[in-house]
Amino acid sequence: MTRLFSPRGWIALVAFAAALLLVVPVLALAVPESSALHLSQYWVGLCGKFLCYAIVALAMDLVWGYAGILSLGHGLFFALGGYAMGMYLMRQIGLDGVYHSHLPDFMVFLDWKAYPWYWSFSEHFWYCAALVVLVPGLLAYVFGWFAFRSRIKGVYFAIITQALTYAALLLFFRNDTGFGGNNGFTDFKRILGIPIATPQMRVALFMLSAAALLGTLLLARWLVSSKFGRVLAAIRDAEQRVMFCGYNTEHYKLFVFTLSAVLCGIAGALYVPQVGIINPSEMSPANSIEIAIWVAVGGRGTLVGALLGAFAVNGAKSFFTQAFPEIWLYFLGLLFVLVTLFLPQGVVGALRLLRRPAAA
């Protein structure tokens, strides 16, 4: 009970970490481009993106799989982390924009003469890094405080989180909001003064994302194997009983919801420099639903299922949107229906069922 992983789990974790932190950098940077083993920048970028999605999937699994809170607004926290990092990256463009102004191009276009007050200090990396954590965390805390205090649960909670992310989407679409309207932030040049579009920087960002994912996995695993994790799962299964045992379940839900939002914000901040753009489409209700699908496909309440689901669904998405772009959404819908009907516990749950009779 007190062990974080089984011996086999530790081996798998170390192998996973080594693949991400050693094999990928060597294949991308040290192996010559002519070799078949060379990993192109495209693949490094794509895998880096998936690592960020996997962090979001773990965060989602904590609230949904363990605490039973279905949030369909987690894309918002991811996007807010991305925007916070994007502000810094916009400041790093300096005078290299199209209009060669100290202001970002979209502000010049709007005929603004100076940065609005809420862009203050965004030229400092550490300030924006703090925003990455604080903005999603604070929003989740305030929103969760009202929602959990009012005992909003289940499908009602899911619907108001959809409304929340949709409201934010509309807000960020407006040019006057000061975050680039529907184009968002793009054309980043540098991060910490270092050019952003070099192979070395790509690999560095990939490794940072990998480290963040491993850290998230360890943290999540520690949480769910503690007494705290057992209380969360108990809230999911019989919240009344937990209350009558003397636990203030609002505090537990608020804690895990806020933590989950912070993890999403960090993932978003790592995502934006790798894909080179952040715009309000990340806040679309469908994006948040997709996050829930990753976790449902992989298997709720298992952590490893969330990882698998994020990689598998996004891998399929990359393949389909290139090979058969018009059928991707049908495929996604079909996948969700099939998983709900035949694999209610996701892929991991199905594997466990297969293994159990064999072991008996």
Partner: protein, 277 residues
Amino acid sequence: MSSIAYSSALDSSPPAGEALYGRMATAGLDTSHGAILYLDDISVSFDGFKALNSLSLSIDVGELRCVIGPNGAGKTTMMDVITGKTRPDAGTAFFGQTIDLTRLSEAQIAQAGIGRKFQKPTIFEQHTVFENLELAMKADKRVRRTLFARLSSEERDRIASMLARVGLAGAADRSAGLLSHGQKQWLEIGMLLMQEPKLLLLDEPVAGMSDEETERTAELFLSLAGRHSLVVVEHDMAFIARIARKVTVLHEGSVLAEGPHEQVQADPKVIEVYLGR
């Protein structure tokens, strides 16, 4: 026999009559006037239907009280009011002399020392039997403490002795969802006792139990009375007859009759509304 460690933990309550005004019952409960629970003139209505109608009731320290009444008499609503699930429209509910139950949340009431067993056994089905008892065990149940909580060997012993006491020693590592209905009832009672409550509210505790299990439950409750106060809501009249000392009959949201079991059973009003049907 296996309850030695458990009962010594319970006996740490302060001597009777020691006033502890303004302090939570986790430290001690002021029962200086001999009663642990007072309900006075409680009314609750749902959409015009009066579930409780000026209900007044008091339970003495160490008492085992049976509450009976036909369906819709307000038995479960009364428990909801005591445990903070339902707020009364009017009336007062006090735990001991000082704790106003109508102002506390469910969790605070549980912390103060009131344990509740639901009509339908409510346990954590996905958790093991051991974990069910671990989660219920009296402890600092705030988030920060729970994050870093570790079971001490003394706590493990307490869980082990409770497992033996409720007859689940062999099932400690089994998923609670796999237990039989009667075993689930016992596990829930075990969880209540792990909270070390001063007052136990038991809603139909022997529903679905075999005769032998019912008999063992009766013995358990009789052994608990004195150290705890118990309020038992039951329909099983044989069980009531086995454990009853004082019986309260509820009808249409208020007390119809109250007194020793034989006296209540002979009361013509009671026979008319309840036993006679």
